[in-house]
């Protein structure tokens, strides 16, 4: 019986470990992180451009990198696969993904932030050598993919200043979760 009570009592959403009355608010465990070790792991790039490293690249520079390191999985022009299709703006009007199950999501028709492209390629691509690309290569690839998706000009240079200013076609399509439980099916 006691076991059952503990089991039931121990799983509420407000469960907290019971600590002695003398236990402090903080324990002093762990050690201070150094600026250097934070810098090594702090990969993320935000929509406002925070986190973008120095560097630059254009579509033509990125095209060469793409051919060597990306085309085998994503196709010669970003459309052919076999893995995720990267290029495509169809349909130019509307955002009918909810209604059309066969409509393929691409960078051009679905990604809301250009900075996410830098963040993701830099952290996870290419699949067989993740984290191996240099900043100029990533900027070039991002420029190439944005140009292939008709979002920037072929001559546009992507760098820490220009990339956050790129407005993606799907930027305004995303809304917060409005499901709240209760009887309504949303």
């Amino acid at each position: 019986m006691l076991g059952t009570m503990l089991l039931l009592g121990g799983c509420g959403s407000h469960d907290r470990p019971q600590v002695g009355a003398a236990a402090p608010v903080t324990f002093g465990f762990g050690r201070p992180a150094t600026a250097d070790e934070i810098a090594v792991w702090d990969l993320d790039v935000r929509p406002d451009g925070a986190g973008l490293p120095p560097g630059r690249g254009t579509a033509s520079q990125g095209s060469a990198v793409y051919g060597r390191k990306c085309a085998a999985c994503h196709g010669a022009t970003g459309i052919e696969g076999p893995f995720d299709r990267l290029v495509g703006r169809e349909p130019r009007q509307g955002f009918p993904f909810g209604r059309l199950p066969r409509l393929v999501k691409t960078i051009g028709n679905y990604w809301p932030y250009a900075t996410t492209l830098y963040d993701y390629v830099n952290r996870a691509m290419p699949l067989n050598a993740p984290g191996s690309l240099k900043p100029d290569e990533v900027y070039g690839l991002v420029a190439f993919l944005l140009w292939r998706n008709d979002i920037i000009a072929s001559s546009a240079e992507m760098n820490p200043q220009t990339l956050p200013r790129v407005v993606m076609p799907a930027h305004d399509r995303f809304v917060p979760d409005n499901r709240r439980g209760g009887p309504e099916i949303r």
Partner: protein, 401 residues
Amino acid sequence: MTHAPISRRALLAGATGALGAHALRVTKLAQDPTKVPGSAVTPLGERSPFERPRRIPLGNGQGISYTPLQDCCGIVTPADLHFERHHAGVPAIDPQRYKLLIHGMVERPTVFDLEALKRFPSVSRLCFLECSGNGAAGYGRSRPDLSPQLVDGLTSTSEWTGVPLATLFREVGVKPGATWFLAEGQDAAVMARSIPVEQARDDGLIAYGQNGEALRPEQGYPARLLLPGWEGNANVKWIRRIELADRPFMTREETSKYTDPLPDGTARQFSFVMDAKSIITFPAYPVTLGDRGWWQITGIAWSGRGRITRVEVSSDAGRHWAPADLQQPVLPKCHTRFRYMWNWDGGDTTILSRAVDETGYVQPPVEQLRQARGLGTTYHFNHIRPWRVRRDGTVVFGLES
């Protein structure tokens, strides 16, 4: 995420692939086990050679593997049968070299090793963990030869042990304006999600224990984020970094993936909570009912919003519903076992279950969910799962394409 088409080979592998190994072990059995001494004690137990539950893996390092729900009883999933979903394979991490870095909008940027995490007051709780793409079968395309494993096997329940995020947040001094944090894994995808601080502070854990032992590598060894009731992807495995901030980071996994396009031309973002659902795990494909008469219909129900308060079963294709028994314990955000004794008259019929949670949410029929979400949606499939029972006793998955 992309689900590969389910091949017949994958279907059969789970059911029959191990029979050959069985036969070898069975030959060692004594005719009468009371007449010969049994085998010796061992340092590590094994399943009976008669029991061969297996996950069904699909894909490679970016793949998924399904829990054999029809082979499980009660509510807990054995750790070696817990479903898998990885974005770049399972990393091998030395616990001696493991570090969790918490930085950003905090007073004291701190590195915790595993020993430090285990010194904090710990908590254990049972809860389900479910891939947000679970249940895709039968929503758009369907087929009759789907088992519970292939319909809903991307959910599992464990007892998780770890340190509350609230404790770690106090330890590092999270600043008042910090409303989101990035949770980042140490896998080859360096998988990262933005998480609201409030929810994580309520019941989030950095978990290092699973069902009484260390986490399995496939579940994030040596430590992972655990956000009870929230889609699996947000529960970042192999967690190495938490960065507090005043806004979300907009990673690929919360923009390009794990968002829900809706019929009105928008896409729902940060749809973390898994809504209530249930599935009958017996009788279900591929079993055959041997005879008319009494059978126990049983299955699991769960909700990311709290406790399951009711499960109803219909044995006449939804014309009548009757309450099923809920087996104790009934815990919030946890698989709940239900059972219902059914006197089968031997005729063709369809059996269904529907779950109700403590918010009053009722698991919807597929038509209702399709109307709300559209056919193009790719996550959060919690529609009712029907099973057709045919006159010859065979049972098949009952949703039409």
